[in-house]
Subunit: 319 residues, 4 copies
């Protein structure tokens, strides 16, 4: 993934994709639209998000060579960020980026540290979903601001000029048994690694998650009901010992409220060290969690595509 | 990390350690003792857990070459597992290991998929803590079975012949600002990756975690109080945009109840497909969470040691 | 590196570059021109090779975020390759690409397996050379067709309608002592790894190379002349035990003659298995080695930039 | 690979091995004996080199978990190296190790930077050869000191109290077509990477190698003789475009003369900067190249085992 929120372009370079997969620019439309998250509670910035496949596809099939998927930024307002240059937005990565990159960072709209960069992740996910078929990944926003009436929660937040967080659930079915390693590359390790690359994610729980910490072993253990390893319950979220067990993969993700809110906040002027009032201009999401489900799906599909490329169905015996 | 629960040896091979760090076998004693978790609620297996440094240390200093830390297993009872060979313990990795490794896995006590293998992780953590000094990592069991009176919770579980889970908290101080990358190698990505390699971990939340999903932006945003980026609150858990912000790192981990419990359970006989009663023999933990804090500390220290080796204090300017 | 010889675009995505390095599109001109290798003995295809920096640079300085450098293909003649589709060119990767990618490969001009893709490598090298300054890498064509009169050798080859190979020498100065690891990531390992990614490279030798196999220890050993480790001779090519020793790095690379030659050759028709005469159309290099020196420089600069990012000047002592 | 020449132990930790491969300690005997290189022209140090398999094997079959193969050092003479501590042997890694590791390196016999550490590589090779069966790798010493009468060359060197180099050839048959990637992970890249981890290797050439630089395209191109890609000649050494072509893999490696020779040499005292005479004590090889063939075989088998684990026999088509 490369690119900046208000730069010339952004996108993704995908290496290691098998050859022969049918792919054209229309395949991306549905997931890119879902990533916009609807009009209510999301940014007023309007981008066509039209993907250009610039390499690695020949006659509408992947060739096995690196695939560059390229998007242009069209609706940029870089000037909106000049006033905030020396006044970091609370809760935002403005401050760490300034220090880490020695002042050379593109500060306009967060630069590379912007949720806009997930456009490339979603594009890669479209391809990954094709690779892992018939494994199916589905994700949805289960609650916003603690409410399951999500539309109502968003309306209330807009009224209060505040942003809200949410919880995203993800399930994947038809996963082969045996993916993942017991140590270091457990399936939870690989999934959480990529999920925490999604901006605004604060937490992840697999299966019964934090609830498991309050359960007893006899409550939590999933009883086997057949020789294939199907279980009556799925507290394990489809994973034992870091390895998929053939039951559906299930996890939940906490998304924090966006730091940029339409009300004044206090911050520090980094030149003077003095307190300062900050009104965030620019166009921002009230409920970024609305846009996260399709990003989570993409992330999961990418991890599974990598894992499934490595599966050895039958252990070799050499004597 | 290598080794099995009931095999000849287990331990860890550490590569990339700087030279010149004082290290001898006594340095491991405290953390290895903490890993035993006390006598109440933990396994009755008694292992001396004496570390042998077999390479990479010369005259009590690290040389810069790979360091092998080696432990022997002494108190093994491999026969205890013969009866369970074809009857997978519910909630345990027995079943997935059998399928993934085609029946060649060492099934005695979980083999390589045993919590015992974390011995190597703790040993590596002792060294990592020295490397990252004066960064200090501290972890503790905050609750067991939903109770903060942990001793009471364990006693109750022993009485009920059941296992219980818990929540482990971890904090790290004096962390340099700027560790981690915005995408894919965010600090949360790297930490969760290794934390989910610890057996029995089900969930991780940074800063305000799942609670953040119910907060508004104005509640959640941490207000800066000085030019160094110190904040009044720490809902971010010390991380913005995947990058450390100089405030204390804070996260919480959910530990599930051990699957092996001292009461009969139902399972399936994998040869016949018939239901079967299973009484788990062997020696097991009632509350494995008691032993997790020092393992979490080790994991965090290892990640930080890797990250800090890469820090460039001052960005280069080449004209 | 991504892209194809006759596709829409090609280029390189660079991650991990420090922030603050001055970079603009004119910086690439000199090395890109050198890569064309002059007009005599090189392809008649004429490409402007104009670089577009599409991300990771803000106000003419690197930001620390991924940098996409993008080139368009303009002078393509894809039809020239239709006749050769089922008749693999001897000595060329046509055949292996067809099998490896199951017939989905972009066969026009070698697709992704084309020397044209080194354009991205040279572009990355321009940046790497800035990062490693004042380390200086210089490479030159030392012989072609076994002759040091390279111009004459090329003229003779053009007359005979045949291609010729050559030997490229490379030297790098001001290299810090201590780069590289004794095993697996020796400096020779890292350099040869990337050098053998350059199409047409057949061999690499460091220092006295194959000649060393015929020397005695007393002839080959480089005698130290000062405490800084300078040596009277440099048979080691600046490397001992896989680690740079502070003397100039020196190695030589063998470049094979291009497989595409302007005279008919015998091959097999892959549909029928019958012998067939093949006249290679398209525009090809008589002496590809003319273009290799600047590519070798780029490769070396990239490896050194990675290694120098990891140097720890002073070993840490923690007690 | 871990361990030191005169430390407590050395060996190798192997991860990622498939389960179910028959393995016991006797399987190592033949290759470990070949690594000793015979008695003439090799070190007088006598080590039993008995392998101990300490994890990852259960009932004489690999389990799929990490395998630790462990050797003890028994015939050490660490005192022999005290006199040379401040006087680096010319041509040896003594000097760079001292600087790189800040004086903390185990200097006795080269410590970790010793040819003795290849014991672990050969042990891993024994297992890798089983994994890649029926692919067969064979390597031999083709010349020593420029002579094909190798026994005579060694006798002459012993008389002259000097060390000599040599050329090792390696061939591998039955290799699947399609291993390797066009850029960065070409088969030559992967092989040269590991081959240059073998101490004393100075150069590598694939197929016609440096000779190719003096050939014309019509001489060098390998003519196809059937639809399976078999070729009349093998100037390519079995590789086109970085990818195996199904013909035998062939390459040659140059081994330098050992730096430690039984005659006095000049060096510098690193404390004073003064010239000094150095008589190397300890037990050393006259012709280390005698021991290299089996190490090269091991290295090739390891690379092929990794590559073959990733092969996708049939490209996937997803529509």
């Amino acid at each position: 993934m490369y690119g900046e929120s208000h730069g010339k372009s952004l996108g993704v370079l995908i290496d290691g994709c098998p050859s022969g997969i049918a792919l054209n620019e229309k395949d991306f439309a549905e997931d890119l639209e879902r990533r916009k998250g609807g009009k209510k509670g999301t940014t007023s910035r309007r981008e066509p998000d039209r993907p250009h496949i610039l390499s690695g596809v020949f006659r509408n099939r992947t060739t096995g060579s690196p695939i560059l998927i390229f998007f242009e930024n069209t609706d940029t307002k870089p000037r909106a960020y000049e006033a905030m240059k020396d006044a970091p937005r609370p809760g935002h990565a403005d401050f760490v980026a300034r220090v880490k990159y020695g002042g050379f960072h593109d500060y306009r709209g967060g630069g590379h540290l912007s949720g806009r960069v997930t456009l490339g992740l979603v594009a890669a996910g479209v391809l990954a979903k094709k690779i892992i078929h018939p494994v199916a990944v589905r994700s949805r926003l289960a609650e916003a601001a603690g409410e399951t009436d999500i539309d109502g929660a968003v309306s209330a937040a807009i009224k209060k000029k505040n942003s809200i967080g949410g919880v995203v659930e993800c399930e994947a079915e038809n996963i082969p048994l045996g993916l993942g390693e017991p140590f270091f590359d457990s399936v939870e390790s690989l999934l959480s690694h990529i999920i925490f690359a999604i901006p605004a994610v604060r937490a992840i729980e697999f299966g019964s998650g934090f609830q498991a910490a309050r359960m007893t072993g006899s409550e939590h253990n999933d009883v086997y009901i057949d020789k294939e390893g199907r279980t009556r319950t799925n507290h394990a979220g489809g994973i034992n010992g870091g390895i998929t067990n053939g039951n559906p993969l299930f996890f939940r993700v906490a998304v924090k409220p966006t730091p940029s809110i339409p009300q004044p906040q206090q911050t520090i002027d980094l030149r003077t060290g003095q307190k300062r009032r900050l009104s965030v201009s620019g166009r921002h999401d009230i409920c970024i969690a609305l846009r996260v489900p399709v990003i989570v799906e993409a992330a999961v599909a990418i991890v599974l595509a990598d894992l499934m490329a490595l599966v050895q169905k039958v252990p070799r015996v050499v004597t």
